[in-house]
Chain length 207, copies 2
C-alpha cells in the first residue's frame, strides 16, 4: 500500500499536480484499492492555483496520513513565497525525511532546495529557471533529461513532465507492466501538433 | 479575444479538463490578456471529480460569459448521468450552437452525442468506449486518430489526448507559432517511460 501526498499552495501550477494526480489515482484504482492519494495544504480553504483554478485540499499539514511519496508542484509560490514560509519548509523537511520518495515537478525543485531535500542533489526543473535555481547554490541542475532520479529524490522538467516522472515512479514501485496499464488507461500516446512547418491548408484538394 | 468554457460535473475526469485548461490559460497569458477561460457547472458548489479532486466552478449555467469554445470532459457522468439531465443537455445544445468551436475530450463525446452536437459526426473517444459510443447510433467513431476535426466539432481520445487537441485548437485560432510558444511554456516534450522491455537493473555497472 502506497500513500501519495501532493502539496498545494496558492499559485501551484495546475498541470504540475493534476498530471501526477491522474497517474497516481489511476494506479490506485488499478491495484487492490489500498493506496491513497491526497492533496495537502497549509490551510483547509480553497487554493487558488497559478492559472486561476480553485481546488480544495483534502488535509492540512497537521492532519494527513503518513506519506510514502510527497510531491511538490511548481509555480511562482514555489520559487518566491513558500521557500520563506517556515511552516511549509519545516513540514516538507520532516515529511520528506519520513517518506520513501520525494518528488518535485517543474519549479517545485526551488521549494525542495529551500527545505533541504534537494540540497547537494542533481535535479531537473523548468527550462526557463535552470540558471536561477543553480544560482541558489548547492544544487546541480541537469539540463538534458526529462526527469532525474538522485537517490530517493525524483525531479522533472516543466509542467507536463510530471506525467512522465509519475509514470516512472509507479513502475518503479509496482512494476513496469502496471505502469503500462496506467498509461493505457490514460491513453497516454502523445501526439503534439505543429512539430513540422507544412502549410496549414493545402492548395491541392485531396480525398 | 477568445472565451473558453469548460463544463464540470460530478465524476468529470481531472486530466480531461486540467490538460486543456493549462493549454488555454497559458495561451491567454501569452496573448494580449483579452482571453478568458472559465469553469462552468450546473451548481456553484464544489465538483467532486472522477478521481476525487474537488474543484470550484467559476460560473453556473445561467451566469457565464458568452463562450467561443465550449469543452466537455469525460467521466462516468458524461456517459451515464448527464445525457439524461435535460438542464445540461439543453444548455449544451444551446451553447454549442452559439459557440465557434465545440470540443469533447475522452468520453465527453457521449454527452455531446446526447445533447446533439456530435450527431451524424465523426468523433474520437477513449479506446475502451469506442464500440459503446457507436452503439448509441448516428455517430461515427474514428479509431486511429488522436483527435478528430469534423466541421466545428473537435473530439479527442482518452484523458491525456485533450492536451494535444487543445494545442491544435489554439494553433488553429491564433497561429502555429503561438501554439509552439504555449507548448514550450508547458515544456510539452513527452517522454513516456517503459516503452521498451529492457531489464530494470543492469547486471553490469556502467559509468
Amino acid at each position: 500500500m502506497t500513500t501519495y501526498g501532493l502539496l498545494l499552495f496558492d499559485t501551484a501550477q495546475e498541470l504540475d499536480f493534476a498530471g501526477p494526480w491522474e497517474v497516481f489515482t489511476t494506479s490506485r484504482d488499478l491495484r487492490d484499492g489500498g493506496d491513497d492519494v491526497v492533496l495537502v495544504a497549509e490551510r483547509s480553504g480553497p487554493i487558488r492555483c497559478s492559472q486561476g483554478m480553485r481546488v480544495l485540499p483534502d488535509h492540512t499539514l497537521d492532519d494527513h496520513p503518513p506519506l510514502d511519496v510527497v510531491l511538490v508542484p511548481g509555480g511562482s509560490g514555489a520559487r518566491e513565497v513558500e521557500p520563506y514560509n517556515t511552516r511549509i519548509t519545516d513540514w516538507l523537511a520532516d515529511t520528506a525525511a519520513r517518506a520513501t520518495w520525494t518528488v518535485g515537478v517543474c519549479t517545485g525543485a526551488f521549494l525542495l532546495h529551500a527545505a533541504g531535500p534537494a540540497r547537494s542533489r542533481r535535479v531537473a526543473t523548468h527550462w526557463q529557471y535552470e540558471q536561477t535555481l543553480e544560482e541558489r547554490g548547492d544544487i546541480t541542475v541537469v539540463r538534458d533529461a526529462r526527469y532525474v532520479v538522485d537517490g530517493n529524490l525524483l525531479t522533472s522538467q516543466g509542467v507536463s513532465a510530471g506525467i512522465d516522472s509519475a509514470l516512472w515512479l509507479i513502475g518503479h514501485l509496482h512494476g513496469r507492466e502496471h505502469a503500462r496499464a496506467v498509461r493505457r488507461a490514460l491513453q497516454y500516446e502523445p501526439a503534439p501538433p505543429y512539430l513540422a512547418d507544412e502549410p496549414l491548408t493545402s492548395p491541392l484538394a485531396f480525398p
